[in-house]
């Protein structure tokens, strides 16, 4: 039946959660950094490329969950893209496996300026359970790419990752 269904859809509350406020200190720290880099204004929008540098995939699961209606990334002007050439932000998860270093560096080179790198998770920050192994870069993703922001956690919740991205957005608008 169409009418009951329509009525249900009309009355259903939106699936999206309330917006978490970004941390004021993070915003302030980033504002200073971004001011220097953001010569070209992008407006309040960022295109995000997800990059897995070799890990369990847990951080990637939580980052991808941001696209689900509960977080609804796009209402903030954030969206996931498929190529570094379309991206403003490289969101890197994983332990920075040495076998991925060249791919990460090439993706960064292919990303147009201005660009930002966000490391998500303890592994990407160089402090995860794989740190110190022959197969991963010492110091995590920061050893390969210039980091702008670090979201800790193993894995961090989608809300925390979103907070990081929103902080970047705020800083960029200032």
């Amino acid at each position: 039946m169409l009418w009951p269904r329509l009525a249900r859809i009309m009355l259903r509350p939106p699936a999206a959660d309330a917006v978490p406020p970004p941390h004021p200190e993070t915003v302030a720290a980033l504002a200073a950094r971004v001011e220097a880099a953001a010569q070209a204004r992008l407006g309040r929008s960022l295109a995000v490329l997800l990059l897995d540098s070799g890990g369990s995939g847990g951080c990637m699961l939580e980052a991808r969950a941001l696209a689900a209606p509960a977080y609804d990334l796009e209402r903030f002007g954030l969206r996931f893209v498929d190529s570094p050439r379309q991206a403003d932000v490289l969101l890197v998860t994983g332990a920075a496996a040495r076998n991925m270093s060249e791919a990460l560096a090439r993706a960064w080179t292919a990303t147009p300026e201005p660009k930002w790198v966000v490391a998500v998770g303890d592994c990407a920050g160089g402090a995860g359970p794989f740190a110190g192994c022959y197969a991963v870069e010492e110091g995590g993703v920061g050893a390969v790419l210039p980091l702008d922001l670090m979201v800790p956690g193993c894995p961090p919740s989608p809300a925390l990752i979103l907070e990081g991205l929103l902080a970047l957005l705020e800083a960029q608008a200032d």
Binding site: A15, L50, L51, D52, S53, G54, G55, S56, G57, G58, M60, L61, E62, R64, A65, A67, A68, P69, A70, F80, D82, P84, G94, A95, A97, R98, N99, M100, S101, E102, A103, A107, G128, P129, F130, C133, Y134, A135, V136, C154, P155, S157
Partner: protein, 497 residues
């Protein structure tokens, strides 16, 4: 008993089901395996000076080992195609060569580590620039190569190279190892409890399955059993993980054919599951919950209620998902006959999980290599024989109500009690097999006198799904590649170790 299994079983037994073959015995193994297709090959790994192979013989696991003082052993890949990936891994990590193997190219070692053969007793020194990868040659006129990855949206790191003529794909080849982070090396010399943190991070979507199989192996080595409450809660966690993984795989494949609202619906359902999981166990993803000896934490007081409420919400939506699967003409058109693999190929690769059961391999470790607490529960395991993307998706959906029922039954049987017992210190070895969301997971470990890990191996079902995907793609078009990949969704992080 078949010839190959007799050959292994007549060799001296080191532990139950674990036999040490002599050089002549192992040399006879490839021919015996070729003559006996029923003995399933499950994995091959090494430690310095030794190689180990795992097979399934009916309801039991059979381990065959060989001392390799010369650093060479006869290859199994001529008789079991899936062994090629393992032989290449053994060469990359331990420097042991498979003589007569079908493929000797490195795949884990990209020439970017400080050492070669990092897990051998005498690692070499890596010198020079990383070598260019060697790919399979183009066979035929008018073919060209279409490279994908290692950076792929929605998938773990991996390079996929398709040989195409126009739109038609003639061959797909995987080059993996981009995500190698040295898990096996890091596990050595750690206690099982400490190593569990690494095992949990082998593949996040199957973290309970890996943790449980590893815990089974450690508990077998130490000669203890987890308390009954922990065992029941492990079932709850494992089935919860299966629900979440099936929803995201089913939704992801629907997204790949353009039915994005079905994908979004699944993402919402999955999010509800994760939030209920957080209410019940204090964290969204089940990492680090399963430990050797039991569980790291118990269900919260209001946890069972939150889990049951989420299950009720999921159950309400199942008919909608089922209607898409059964009645959406577009979906049927796009899925049917795509990415099919013959039952013979599925059996030869012993591909696990839904991918195997959709192609006639009627195996589920919960029923066919039973472990506690599954023998006390009734469980229907749907199968199909067409082996295509449609069958894989149909089975994923059919398994959801089964997991739902198992969780409810297990929660109803929970009795108060401890969830963790101490692990005695001592030497030993053990194996564990658990049916994960994408197929059976195998863990083996050997402990030294101090109770620390001397050697260990973890086999994710992805090891068999990557060759299955390579076999499933020829004959389809380039446009269907994402769909076929999503329908199998092999875990490269589980394979890259």
């Amino acid at each position: 008993m078949s010839a190959a299994s007799r050959l292994i079983r007549t060799a001296p037994e080191a532990a139950p089901g674990h036999h040490w073959l002599d050089a002549a015995g192992w040399a006879a193994l490839p021919a015996a395996l070729a003559a006996d297709p029923a003995l399933e090959f499950w994995g091959l790994w090494a430690e310095p000076g030794r190689v180990h192979a795992a097979f399934r013989d009916g309801i039991s696991l059979l381990l065959a080992s060989l001392e390799v003082p010369e650093g060479r052993y006869p290859a199994l890949s001529p008789a079991r195609p899936a062994a090629a990936w393992f032989e290449r891994m053994v060469a990359d990590l331990w420097g042991l060569a498979a003589e007569g193997g079908t493929d000797s190219r490195p795949w884990l070692d990209h020439g970017r580590w400080p050492a070669t053969a990092p897990l051998s007793d005498h690692p070499g020194h890596q010198t020079g620039e990383p070598p260019q990868p060697v790919f399979l040659p183009l066979e035929g006129q008018g073919l060209h190569q279409y490279p994908l990855g290692p950076i792929l949206p929605g998938a773990g790191p991996g390079h996929w190279r398709a040989h195409v003529r126009g739109e038609a794909v003639h061959r797909l080849e995987a080059r993996l190892g981009y995500g190698h982070r040295g898990l096996l090396g890091l596990m050595r010399g750690k206690s099982p409890r400490a190593a569990a943190r690494l095992v949990a991070r082998l593949s996040a979507e199957a973290t309970v399955a890996h943790g449980w199989a590893f815990a089974q192996a450690a508990e077998a080595a130490a000669g203890i059993e987890a308390p009954p409450r922990a065992v029941l809660l492990r079932l709850v966690l494992a089935e919860w993980e299966r629900l979440a993984c099936h929803l995201s795989d089913w939704g992801g494949t629907m997204g790949a054919i353009g039915l994005e609202w079905a994908q979004v619906r699944c993402a919402m359902l999955r999010e509800k599951l994760l939030r209920a999981h957080e209410a019940a166990f204090g964290q969204r993803l089940p990492l680090d919950l399963v430990l050797p000896g039991g569980l790291a934490s118990d269900l919260t007081p209001e946890g069972a209620e939150a889990l049951l409420a989420a299950l009720a919400a999921l159950e309400e939506d199942l008919p909608t998902l089922q209607a898409v699967q059964d009645e959406h003409a577009g979906a049927q058109d796009r899925l049917r006959g795509i990415g099919g693999v013959s039952p013979a190929r599925v059996a030869a690769l012993a591909a696990g999980g839904v991918a195997g059961r959709a192609g006639g391999r009627n195996f589920d470790a919960r029923r066919d290599m039973p472990y506690q607490p599954y023998p006390g529960f009734s469980l229907a395991i749907p199968t199909a024989s067409s082996g295509d993307a449609e069958a894989r998706l149909r089975l994923r959906l059919r398994e959801l109500p089964e997991s739902l029922g198992l969780i409810r039954a297990a929660l109803a049987r929970l009795e108060p009690g401890p969830v963790l017992v101490p692990l005695p210190v001592g030497a030993g070895e053990g194996v564990g097999v658990v049916e994960g969301p994408r197929g059976e997971v195998l863990h083996w470990l050997a402990l030294d006198e101090a109770g620390l890990i001397r050697a260990a191996f973890a086999r994710d079902p992805g090891w068999m799904h990557v060759p299955l995907l390579e076999a499933a793609v020829p004959g389809t078009t380039l446009g269907d590649l994402p769909l076929v990949r999503a329908s199998l969704n092999p875990s490269t992080s589980g394979m890259d170790l």
